[in-house]
Symmetry: C2
Subunit: 254 residues, 2 copies
Amino acid sequence: MEYTVKALARLAGISPRTLRYYDEIGLLRPARVNAAGHRLYGREEVDKLQQILFYRELGLNLDRIARIVNDPAFDVLQALRKHLHDLLAKKRHLEKIIATVEKTIRAQEGGLEMSDEEKFAAFKDKLLAENEAKYGREIREKYGEEAVERSNRQFRNMSQEDYERFKNLEQEVKNTLAEAVKTGDPAGPSAQKAAALHKEWLTCAWGHYSPEAHAGIVQMYVDDPRFAAYYDAIRPGAAAFLRDAVLVFTGRKQ
Amino acid sequence: MEYTVKALARLAGISPRTLRYYDEIGLLRPARVNAAGHRLYGREEVDKLQQILFYRELGLNLDRIARIVNDPAFDVLQALRKHLHDLLAKKRHLEKIIATVEKTIRAQEGGLEMSDEEKFAAFKDKLLAENEAKYGREIREKYGEEAVERSNRQFRNMSQEDYERFKNLEQEVKNTLAEAVKTGDPAGPSAQKAAALHKEWLTCAWGHYSPEAHAGIVQMYVDDPRFAAYYDAIRPGAAAFLRDAVLVFTGRKQ
DNA sequence: CCTTGACATTAACGTAACGTAAAGGTGTAG
DNA sequence: CTACACCTTTACGTTACGTTAATGTCAAGG
């Protein structure tokens, strides 16, 4: 009733290497080692291995399994509940990306060769989603629930021409802003032109416009490191400069 | 409009290390490197990174992503379809183990402290499932569809006393078989006692008995390396010996 | 007695996609 | 002139083993 590594491995449907590894990390030590240095496993070890493989099958990592099978005081139930929670999160995530992949496939099959722009939009969408995960509550509180939703819908439904216009506007904003920052005056004519172009761009992106939202979003450009990086790459301080220009443009500052 | 690693990383919501890694593996090279050896990225690289992150989000590995974004002739559609197939398989697997975890949790919550025996049963179940994956068609062809199902049900529904009896019988079979093998005679009295005990054990496990199935299963003990390992651990050649003994027992051999 | 073959052992690198120091160069603002 | 904030490369750690490589042990057969 003693098993060598190979025998136990075959019995359990795993590899001898796995058993040596489990010995190495202290997860399952052999009952004894004979004179030749060979590992020998007995009844107890077989049972323990069965437990180990059971939990392994459930997707728990070896660290947690070790605590479960070696420490009788360990709260298995809690560990399982946490594990279940992780698994459900994983499942939701999987379902999301499955939907996206299906959408992507349909788009390509539809002959309309998902354009880079659409990929870009999808990515932006994802960025917004990420952003929401981080700043979600703030943003939704500040700009309102459906503002965010509308923005996403608008973005996705944008036509090719709209998108071209949108991209050109973006470039114009950048160029004008780059010049304006040099003047150092947020109330000056080039700064105000940049603010006006930004309003156009915003309207194009959101499908509507309000001075409050405009003032709000440029503040976010300063607060959110990602947007800050984007604008500050044009020229250091550009994000803050644009905010000041827009505050003047919307009449919130002298 | 040029980004350093940090700026681009912030823009994309990833780490500078990731960008250096992508450079290292040739996935995304910077537009140029300045005199100080600093990486600088331009418009093109930003766009490409967006594509990369889009596909990364879908769960594709960097290898495939590299082929998608660098080789315009690459069949993206096919890659996505294969990916979708993998994802669906993953999802099914996830759902299975979620169900098992939930069952395990309920069992523990029910106060009935899922006994080692139940774990053992669950594991056996899993073993049978694995076995079926490998030898499924053969087994089902040989022993019939519902025989397999009934076996599983029977196994799971076994009471604690049944289980004790089952385990004792298992031990008796082993002991008797160990003695019998020494005699070398499959038709001898101890070999026939082993065969009879094995019949008891089998009846207990399956909830029914037939000589054909009995003869069939001992043949499987010889053919399937896992069962072979289990019986041969008692004594080398025990699997084949048991088969011969059962063939005599069931009247299939002299 | 020696070989063969089938087992066993340890050591050590490889995997994917980065995180995380460590050690050092560069550039600019005070 | 010195902080400080960047940048660089090198290299080890992560998970759960797979895969050689080099070597040791044991029973059977010539």
